[in-house]
Amino acid sequence: MAFNLIGKNFTPPDIYAKVTGKAKYAEDFKVEGMVFCRLLTSTIPHARVSNINLDEALSMPGVLGVLTADEVTDTDIMDNPILTNHPKFIGQPILAVAAESEQIAQDAIEKISFAIEALPFTVDPLESLFPGGPNARMEGNVANPGIEPEEVKWQVSDFVAAGENHLPMGSPSREWSYGDLDNAFASSVYILEESFVTQGLSHNSMEPRTALAYWDGDKCILHASSQSQSFPHPGVASYIGIAPENLVFIAEFCGGGFGSKGGAYPYVAIPALMSKKINRPVMMRISRNEEALIGSARPGFQGRARLGFDQNGKMLAADLYIVQDNGPTNGFNDWLSAGDALSLVYTPNAMRFRGIPVLTNTPHRGPQRGPGQNQIANAIEPMIDKAARELNIDPLAIRKINAPNNYSKYGGAQTSVTSAYLSEALDQGAEMFNWNERRQRSGQRNGSKVTGIGIGTAYHSAGSNGFDGLLRIDTDGILHIHTGVGNLGTYSHTSTSRVAAEVLGYSWDRCVVERGDSSKGLPWNLGQFGSNTSFTMTRTNYAAAQDAVIKIKQLAALRLGGSIEDYELQNERVQHFNDLNLSLSFAEVAQIAIDEGGSYSGLTYPDEINPMTKRAVGHLAGSGLIGVGRDNLARSGSVAALAAGFIEIELDLETGDWEIKDYVGIADCGTVLHPLGLSHQVKGGAVMGIGLAGYERHIYDPQNGLPAHLGLCHSKLPTYLDVPSEMRWGAVALEDPENPVGAKGIGEPVQGCASAALLCAISDALGGHLFNRTPVVKDMIINFTAGQEQSYGPLQISSA
C-alpha cells in the first residue's frame, strides 16, 4: 500500500515538552491547599498488624489524618490490596498519614504504635512446594488468574527423583500437550535436558507511581502515572469506589511503566480516598525505594526443558516445566505464555507444557515487557545453540529451520497466527550483521579477551480487537483524533492516530491528537501493553475514519445531491466525481453536521460502542462532525510479533567483563508506522534486554526475606556507559493481512531477542558453556573460567 503519512517520520507533539523539561508528570502538579501523604509499610515479609494506636500521631501539629486498611475499598482477596493489615511482602502499604509536609507525615508515622505478628514466609517457590514448607499466605501457596488459591505440596520423592541439579516436577496446576511426544522424542537423534533459573525483576520505572488527587463535588480529579490512558480508567474508578463518569483521569506523560502501569493499580486510590477524608488535595509522592517494592516485578522461573531434534536441527519434541515465582497475589500468566511462545518460535512437532505458579512473600508480580516470552527466550536460546553445536549445524540455520511461518500453529490449542516472518527477519539480520563472516570470529582470542557471537529470537502476541475509535472535524476543518492511548514513550498515541488522517487524506499539520486527560472525551482503547497498540488502535482509528468518510459523503449528497457513491475525498474536501462545482470543504461539512445533528454531530451514536466512548461522544456532541466506531474487523489468530537479534561481544576471561561490539535487531512488525519510533523500540528494547541478560538484580536474603536490590543503583540497571552507543536495526515490513494498514506491534520481542542473543554470545565466548540462568554476571563468568564451582546451586533463586 502507498501511504502519505504511514511509514513517515513525524515530530511527536509531546516531544518539546519532554526535552525542555516542561512536560508535567503527576509529581509536577501543584494545587491550592495541597498536602502530602506518606505510607507506613511492612518491614517484615508476612505479618498481621493489630492494635494500631494513632493517638500520638494524630495529635502532632500539622498532621491531618490517617487512612487505614479498614477504610479503603475492598478488593478481591487475591488482588493486590490498596492498604492491608495483613502484609505479604516487605514494603507493602499498611496505612497512610497526611500532613502539611512530608517530613511531618514521616515523623508522625514513627509515632504510630501497633502490634505485629510475624507469620511464616518464603521467597523460594521450591521451598514452599516441599512437604511442610511455608505458605506465603493463609489461603495457600498456589494461585494465578483462573486458579483459585490452594495449598500444593509435592512428594519428597519428586525432589529425590530430580536430584540437586534438576527441577523436581511434582503435580502441575496446568498441563497441555499436542502431538505424540513419546514418539517425537523416540525419533530424535539428539535430546538435551536442562534445568534453569530466570530471575524475577523489578520494573524500576523511572517515574515512581506518584499521584495527586482532589475532589470537585462528586468528581475526583486524579493525576497519575500510567502507561495507558483509557484502559485503566474504569478500574481506577472502582478502586476509588466511584462511578467511572465521576473520575477525571489525567496521565499526559509517563516516565516508564514496562507493564507495571498498564492497567489500574491500587495505590492511586490512596491520595483520592485520603483527599475525600480530609477534604484537601493530597499528593502522594512515591520514593525510589518504595517504587522498587510496590512497583511490582516480573515473575522468576525455575524451569526444566527437554528438547529433541532430528539431524537437521528440526525440533521434533519439547517438554517444558515451569515453576513460577508468583509473588503473594494472583500474579500474572508468564508461565503459560512461556509455553505458548516456545510452541510458536520453534514449532516443535509435539510438545507438552506443565507448570505451577507458586506464591512467595516478595512484591506483587505483574507483566513486564515480554512476560513469559522473554524469560523463555533467555532459557531456550542458549540450548538451541548447544543443539546446533552437537549436531554441527550453523546457529542461524537451526533457527531458520524451526522458525514459524504464516501457517504455523500456536500454543496448546494450536490456534493460528495472522502472519509470522521470523525466517525473513533472520535472513535480513544475517545480511546486515554479515553473519557468515562474523561467525568465523567466534572464539577468536585477543590477549585475555575472546570473541563471542550470538543470535536471539523472541515472540509476543501483538494485537487485539474490539475497541473504539473517535474523531471530530471542527468547523475550521481541523481533525481532532481522540485517542485513549497512553504516553509510555513510544509515541504510539500519535503513530496510530495518523491512520485516521491517512484515511481522510488530511495534511498532518491540520490534525490534533487529543489525549492524556479523560475529560477531553477519549474513546475506550486497549491499554499500552502486550505490544498491541500498533495493531489494535490502527484498527480503531481506521473504524472511526471510515465512519467519518461515510458521514462526509452522506452530508455532501444531502446538500449537493446525488448519492454517496458520487463523492470522493480529496485535499480535505468532499468532491463530486463528475461535477467539479459540487464540492464542500471539511470545515463546511462540519458545520452541516452540526446543523443536521443526529449521528453526524454525535447526538446519537452506535449502541455497540463502549460506555466510555459513549460518554466521550456525548461530551463532543454538537461541536463538529463526529466519526466514531467499534473495530469490528476480523481477527483470526495471534498477531505474531517476532524479532531477531544478532550480537558480537568481546569477553575478558580474567575479569568477566564483556563489551558489545555490534548489535543488529530486526523486527517483524508488519507495515512500519513510524520508522524513528520503531528504531527506538528496537534499540531501547535491546538496552533493556542487555539489562535482563547481564545486569539487573532482584535479590532476596532467604533467611530474613530482605530485598537487597532497592534503588536503581543496587538493581544494577545498565547505564549508557554499559551499552553500545551505536546499534543497528531493520524491519521485515511485510504487511499483516488482518490489519487495515498492515501493521502489528513489536515492543516486547525486541527486548527478548537482544537478551537471548547476548546470553548466546557469552556462552559462545566460553566455548558453549551454559549457565542456564539469568542474569549472567561477572562472578559467574570468573568462577567458570577459574574452574571453580558456582556459589549458588543450580535451582537457587537469589544468587547474590
Partner: protein, 328 residues
C-alpha cells in the same frame, strides 16, 4: 528500612576551618560533617543514622584545591573528585590517583563528591545500609555472614564480627602512594599515614577510619616518593560506572636494569581496609617481570583468603588482577 524522608536538622555552614572545629566541639557527637553529601544524605533519608547538627564544609575554602609543595602535592579534603581526575599535575605525576578517581561512582557523583568524603565513607554492606541491627550498627549479629547471607560483595580477609569491605577505589591508591592524612581538631593538627588511617572492625566496628568525633580531615599529602612511577589501576565492578568495586588493584613500581627496583601494591574491596599486598611486593621486588613472577605473586596474594558463601570468585579475580598488574 529506607524511609526516604530526611528528618529535620540544624544546618551550619562555617566559612573557616576554625569555625567548623568550634562547631564540632560545641555539638560533639550530636554533629555530623557534610562534604558532598552523597554518603551522608543517604543515611539521613533512611533515618537510620542522622544528627541534630549538620556542619556543611562547602564554604570552607581553605579545605579546597590541589597545591604543589616541595615534598609533593597536597590535596584539600573538600576538593571534588572531578577536580582530582582532571588535574594536570596529578595526571602527569600521580596518574594512579587520577585513574582510580576516574572510576569512582559516576561522573555526576564525582562532580559533587569530595576526596575527604570518599576516604571517610561508611561501609556499603547492604544489610548495614538497609538498617538492620548488626554489629556495626550497635547490635549483636551479622546478617551477611550466615549460611544464606547474600555476601557476594563482602570480604576475604579481616572478618571480625563484621564482613564488610572498604568500598573506596581511592583509598588503596592512597596507601600505595604513601599519602599522609592531615587531621585537625580543636586541639591542633595530627598526621596519620594512609596505611594506618583506615581501621578494621577488630579495632573499632563502628568506624572505618581513625577520625574521632570533633576531628576534620583537612588534606592529604602525597610525597614525591612515587612521583612518575609506573602505575597500574584496575577496577572490576558489575557495571562500567555507578558501581562499587568487586575488587580493585593499585600498583606503583620502578624498574631499573630490567628488574623491579621498588614496588607497592594494594587491593580494595577484599578487606575492611585497603589491603596492602606486601607479600606480592616481596615476591616481585628484585625480579624481572614475567609470567612466572606474576604467577608466583598471584599465588602469594591470595594466601589466607577466607571466602564466604557467595564471594569465592574474588579469589581468582584478585589473582588475575595481580597478574595483570604485573604484566602491564
Amino acid at each position: 528500612m529506607a524511609k526516604d524522608m530526611m528528618p529535620a536538622f540544624e544546618l551550619y555552614q562555617p566559612d573557616s576551618l576554625d569555625n567548623a572545629l568550634e562547631l564540632l566541639s560545641r555539638f560533639g557527637d550530636r554533629s555530623w560533617i557534610v562534604a558532598g553529601g552523597h554518603d551522608s544524605f543517604d543515611w539521613f533519608k533512611d533515618r537510620t543514622k542522622y544528627a541534630q547538627y549538620v556542619i556543611d564544609l562547602n564554604n570552607v575554602n581553605e579545605l579546597k584545591g590541589i597545591n604543589e609543595t616541595s615534598e609533593g602535592i597536597e590535596i584539600g579534603a573538600m576538593t571534588s573528585l572531578t577536580e582530582i581526575e582532571l588535574n594536570d599535575v596529578i595526571r602527569q605525576r600521580y596518574s594512579l590517583l587520577s585513574d582510580a578517581v576516574s572510576r569512582v561512582a559516576s561522573p555526576q557523583i564525582r562532580h559533587i563528591g569530595t576526596i575527604g568524603g570518599n576516604l571517610n565513607q561508611d561501609a556499603r554492606c547492604w544489610y548495614y545500609r538497609y538498617g538492620v541491627d548488626c554489629y556495626r550498627a550497635g547490635g549483636n549479629s551479622c546478617y551477611a555472614d550466615t549460611p544464606e547471607g547474600q555476601n557476594r560483595e563482602h570480604c576475604l580477609w579481616g572478618a571480625s564480627r563484621c564482613v564488610a569491605v572498604s568500598p573506596s577505589d581511592v583509598a588503596p591508591a592512597m596507601v600505595v602512594l604513601e599519602a599522609t592524612m592531615v587531621i585537625a581538631s580543636a586541639n591542633g593538627l595530627r598526621e596519620v599515614p594512609a596505611e594506618d588511617y583506615f581501621i578494621g572492625p577488630n579495632i573499632d566496628i563502628e568506624r572505618m577510619t581513625v577520625i574521632e568525633p570533633g576531628e576534620v580531615l583537612v588534606s592529604i599529602k602525597i610525597p614525591n616518593t612515587w612521583a612518575n612511577a609506573m602505575f597500574y589501576f584496575e577496577k572490576v565492578a558489575d557495571r562500567n560506572t555507578w558501581d562499587f568495586p568487586l575488587v580493585n588493584i593499585s600498583r606503583a613500581m620502578f624498574i631499573e636494569n630490567g628488574v623491579v627496583s621498588r614496588i607497592r601494591m594494594a587491593a580494595g574491596a577484599v578487606e575492611c581496609i585497603p589491603r596492602r599486598l606486601s607479600v606480592v611486593e616481596q615476591v616481585v621486588a628484585g625480579s624481572e617481570l614475567n609470567e612466572e613472577t606474576a604467577e608466583l605473586a598471584s599465588q602469594a596474594a591470595i594466601r589466607g583468603a577466607t571466602p564466604l558463601n557467595f564471594n569465592h570468585f574474588k579469589i581468582p579475580l584478585l589473582q588475575n588482577l595481580v597478574k595483570r598488574a604485573l604484566r602491564a
